[in-house]
Symmetry: C2
C-alpha cells in the first residue's frame, strides 16, 4: 500500500521554524510535499491572488523534501498544489502551520494558516491547521510533537468529517506547563479591539499601523479560549458553510419583498 | 431623532460604479460615510494589512459625501472606520458593494465585499454585502435599486439577527428579466475548479495566473444558486462562528489523546 500523501503549507513563510517542525513531526507518517509562501502572509485570511501573477519555484529550504515556494497567499499555495503541482494525485491530508501565534476564537477568520486548511477542506481533503501561542521566530515547537503526530494519525486513519477543517491551537507550554491533553471545543465568541497607530511620513502625510488586542467575550467552558487558558490543546472542527440556519425564518419575516 | 449612520465600503475600489450606485440608492435612508479601497481588492477575503502601513485619505470621488479612500483591504476599511474615523459613533449599518460579480455559494469565503460585511458583523453592527452577477465596469445596477432600498429599510427597522451579515446576490436582470423577488436561502455547496495559466517571462522563468470555473454541486431548491438561476435575488444570512457543531462528538471519538 502506498504511503498517504500529505500536503504541507503555512502562512509564516517556507523559511519559518514552524513549518520545518511540522514537516519533521510527520515525515514518517506519509509522503510529504510542501508548497508554502516565499514571504510572510500572516493575516491574509482567505485571500487569493487575481490582480498579480504568481511565482512558484522549487525550494532548497527543506532538504530531502519535495518543496516549493510560492509568491502568493496560503490559499494560492493549496490551489497550486491541487491543480498544478500534484495534478491527478489527491492529497490524503492538508496540514498548515505550525503557526507562530494563536488562531483561536475569531482569529480563525483572519488566519492564513487556517485559510490554507479551509481551502483543503473545500477541495474535499481532510485538513488541519496547527498554531502555537508563541510569536517568537525561535519558538519551541518540540512539546507539540507527540500531539501533532497523534492528531495526524487520527485524521489519516479515522473517518474525517466531510467539508471541515480542524483548528488546533497549542498554548505556550513555557507558560502553562506540560499539556494536559486535547479538548474538542467550539469557537469562543470574541473580537479584536483595534488601535491604529497614526504617524506622519517625512512629507507630513499620515500613515497607519494596525494593532489590536483580543477580547474574549465568552466564558463557556466548552470554548477554545477556555481550553487554552487551562493548559489544554484546543481542537475546533470548522466548516465553510457560513449559513446561519437558525435565522432563516426570522429574516424571511423581516423582508417586505420576500417570495 | 438623528438619522441612522450607514458605513459603506466595497472591494472593487472607491472609483467603481457599484459603490456609487449603492451610495445613491441609500443616501436618503441615513447619513452615509464611505471608506473604500483606493485600488481593486477583489478576492482579498478577510485579509488585513499587518506587514505594511496603511494610507487613508479624503476622497473627492463621491461628491457630497464624507468619503475616504484607503490603501488597505476591505476589512482594513471597516476597522479604520470603526476604530479611527468614526471613533465613538457606532454605525447602525455596514453596507458593502455593490460588487461587480456574484459572491454566491462558496465565493463568499474569497469575497472582499462579504468580508467587509462580516467584519461589520464581528463589530456587532448589522451588515449587508450586495453583489450583482455582472463583472462589467459599466454594469447596470439600476434594477437593484428598489430591492436594495427595501432590504436596507428592513435591516434598519427590524431586529437584525446578532453576529450575522447578509449575503445578497442579484442575478443579471439582462439575462433573467425583471427580478421575481428576494429568496432567503442557504449557501449552496460548490467549489472552484482552478486552472493555472502557465507562461514564461522574457527571462524564461515561469509565472502563473489563477483562473477557474465555479462548479455548483448542490441541487437544493433552498440554495442561493437555485434562487439566482431562477430569476430571484438570493439572501443568505452568514455567521462567523465556524464551529461544525454536528461533528464535535465524532471528532472526540476519533482522538486518542482526548481529555
Amino acid at each position: 500500500m502506498s504511503k498517504p500523501l500529505i500536503l504541507v503549507s503555512n502562512d509564516d513563510g517556507i523559511f519559518s521554524k514552524g513549518i520545518a517542525s511540522l514537516v519533521d513531526f510527520v515525515k514518517d507518517l506519509g509522503e510529504v510535499v510542501v508548497i508554502a509562501p516565499t514571504l510572510p502572509q500572516s493575516g491574509m485570511g482567505h485571500a487569493i491572488t487575481i490582480h498579480e501573477h504568481i511565482r512558484l519555484d522549487k525550494s532548497k529550504l527543506l532538504p530531502g523534501f519535495e518543496a516549493y515556494e510560492c509568491s502568493g497567499t496560503p490559499v494560492d499555495c493549496v490551489k497550486l498544489a491541487k491543480h498544478y503541482v500534484l495534478k491527478d494525485r489527491q492529497p490524503d491530508l492538508v496540514l498548515s502551520g505550525i503557526n507562530h501565534g494563536t488562531n483561536s476564537s475569531v482569529s480563525v477568520i483572519y488566519s492564513g494558516t487556517m485559510s490554507a486548511a479551509m481551502e483543503g477542506a473545500m477541495e474535499g481533503i481532510p485538513s488541519i491547521g496547527f498554531s502555537l501561542a508563541d510569536y517568537n521566530h525561535d519558538a519551541d515547537f518540540e512539546p507539540c510533537r507527540e500531539f501533532v503526530r497523534s492528531i495526524v494519525a487520527s485524521a489519516l486513519h479515522g473517518k474525517f468529517p466531510e467539508h471541515t477543517a480542524w483548528n488546533v491551537n497549542f498554548p505556550s507550554s513555557a507558560k502553562t506547563g506540560p499539556y494536559k491533553g486535547i479538548k474538542v471545543c467550539r469557537q469562543s465568541h470574541g473580537r479584536w479591539k483595534e488601535e491604529f497607530i497614526n504617524r506622519k511620513d517625512p512629507q507630513g502625510r499620515d500613515y497607519f499601523w494596525l494593532t489590536g488586542k483580543f477580547l474574549n467575550l465568552d466564558s463557556g467552558e466548552d470554548t477554545d479560549e477556555f481550553a487554552l487558558s487551562n493548559g489544554y490543546i484546543s481542537l475546533v472542527p470548522c466548516q465553510y458553510d457560513l449559513t446561519h440556519y437558525t435565522s432563516l425564518l426570522a429574516v424571511e419575516n423581516m423582508l417586505s419583498h420576500k417570495v
